[in-house]
Amino acid sequence: MSEAVLEVSRLRKGYKNHPVLKDVSFALEAGTSTALVGLAGAGKSTLIRTLAGLEVPDEGSVSLFGSSNEKELCRARRQTGFVLETPFGYENLTVLQNLIHRASLYGRPDMARIKELRKEMRLTERDHVGVKEKLRLLSLGAEKRYSLACALIPKPRLLILDEPLTGIDKENQRFLTDQLIRLREEGVTLLISGQSAAELQTICTRALLLEEGVLRRTVPMEEAVKEETEVAAEEKK
């Protein structure tokens, strides 16, 4: 059995006496790709924000690469890429400036790496994202590509993404799916949230089903898709 890169144990989080996450526990092994599937309001974003350190859990613990105390956890987050709902960065700066700023948080910015990422994530002039294109002017698809580029700056071993394929056009969906498959094949561990298992089935091999803050089951991806199709068919009737 390979090592667990992420372990969540009995995690609880709520806002003003309204519980959002209730005793969530799971583990991700290195090199696996897992979908976190749940409807809107199920607690996916809160869970990911807690993993990213943006929220403080009320109870329970998070362990990244075997580190669970605050100091070590911070260090472990430097090897993890996060893509949240809203892209990180300064709206009034350009994509390039933001990428350089983001890279500077990990040390001296590696310009070759930034150039490579811009090319890989289609954030160049050729892709209609000019050097002077400000973050606030990006389309949703380009925003997601930019977020993924930011997350890849530290060459992460674990990548956690919050609904990267939701709300974007088919072409961008296809592009991001291909990129995530490539990363999985390179050995990066993936945790991707989404409202539908079907959109993540080509990337992930298993699914964590989250319902109203409770992790109901962990199932193979095919099973999650099958259940989803059956439920949709019943609702149609």
Partner: protein, 265 residues
């Protein structure tokens, strides 16, 4: 690490910084022209120049009546007759009047200018602090592996950097604009430094605790006015005690809030 973060943030916020500096220059220009119009600094200088050539200018300027008793003129222009030399003539009175009025002028420039400027400067710095709480901005630091303590420290340092930068710039402009002697300037500056830091702490506390910039701005301005009234009508010691409590709160409460609730102010 915190220093690097602060530098990165200041660099990233350069547009806001530029905006703040422009706003500050506009404010100071406005303030300067306003002060100049009512204190009439230049007419004093011209008057002094012409008086040196001809003492009669003292009366021609309408400043004093040559026929009147010099002591009477001195009292009329707020000069204590005891400060005049024995058998003072009109020129002695003139020198005393200029001295007293000039000292008064400096006080008015520094007083009116800085009294108004610092809360506004702190207010600007506080407004600049708000964008930092946006998820997309602060989240990048936390998700990049910086601890809450480091991010909190860097927020505070960024804020202080903004306040000190603007304060330094305002001081420089005042110094060069009015050619104020260093002694008088620094004496006043040191006296105001305490006051400025208090305003900064108030603005900081408000920015950390209140959800909207406008609410925070008016709340800090309100507390600042209350403290001024307290100094004037109750006791400076009461005001000082209240200020110290506020300063302590400004350090402790935001950190507690930030630790518990994260960046969601």
């Amino acid at each position: 690490m915190v220093f690097r973060l602060t530098c990165a943030r200041l660099k990233a916020e350069r547009l806001l910084l530029l905006f703040a500096v422009l706003l500050l220059i506009a404010y100071i220009s406005f303030c300067a022209s306003d002060i100049r119009s009512y204190t009439d600094l230049y007419s004093y200088n011209q008057f002094e120049f012409s008086c040196k050539k001809n003492l009669n200018a003292f009366s021609e300027s309408g400043f004093a009546d040559v026929e009147a008793d010099p002591v009477e003129i001195a009292i009329r222009y707020r000069v204590d007759p005891r400060d005049l030399p024995e058998n003072a003539d009109l020129y002695d009175v003139y020198v005393a009047v200029v001295r007293v009025n000039r000292a008064d002028l400096y006080d008015r420039i520094l007083g009116a200018g800085m009294l108004g400027a610092f809360p506004i400067l702190d207010g600007i710095a506080m407004l600049l602090l708000y964008p930092l709480f946006r998820k997309r901005r602060i989240g990048q630091y936390l998700s990049a592996g910086y601890s809450r303590r480091q991010v909190f420290l860097f927020i505070t340092l960024t804020y202080l950097a903004f306040v000190l930068l603007m304060w330094g710039l305002a001081s420089l402009i005042w110094l060069t604009r009015f050619h104020i002697p260093f002694g008088a300037f620094w004496e006043s500056q040191l006296a105001w430094l305490g006051f400025n830091l208090l305003c900064a702490a108030l603005a900081y506390l408000a920015a950390m605790l209140l959800p909207r910039p406008a609410a925070a701005f008016f709340a800090s301005l309100g507390v600042w006015l209350l403290l001024l009234l307290c100094i004037k009508y109750i006791s400076a010691w009461v005001a000082l005690s209240a200020a110290l409590v506020l300063l302590a709160a400004a350090l402790v409460i935001p950190w507690q809030q930030f630790r518990k609730r994260g960046f969601e102010v």
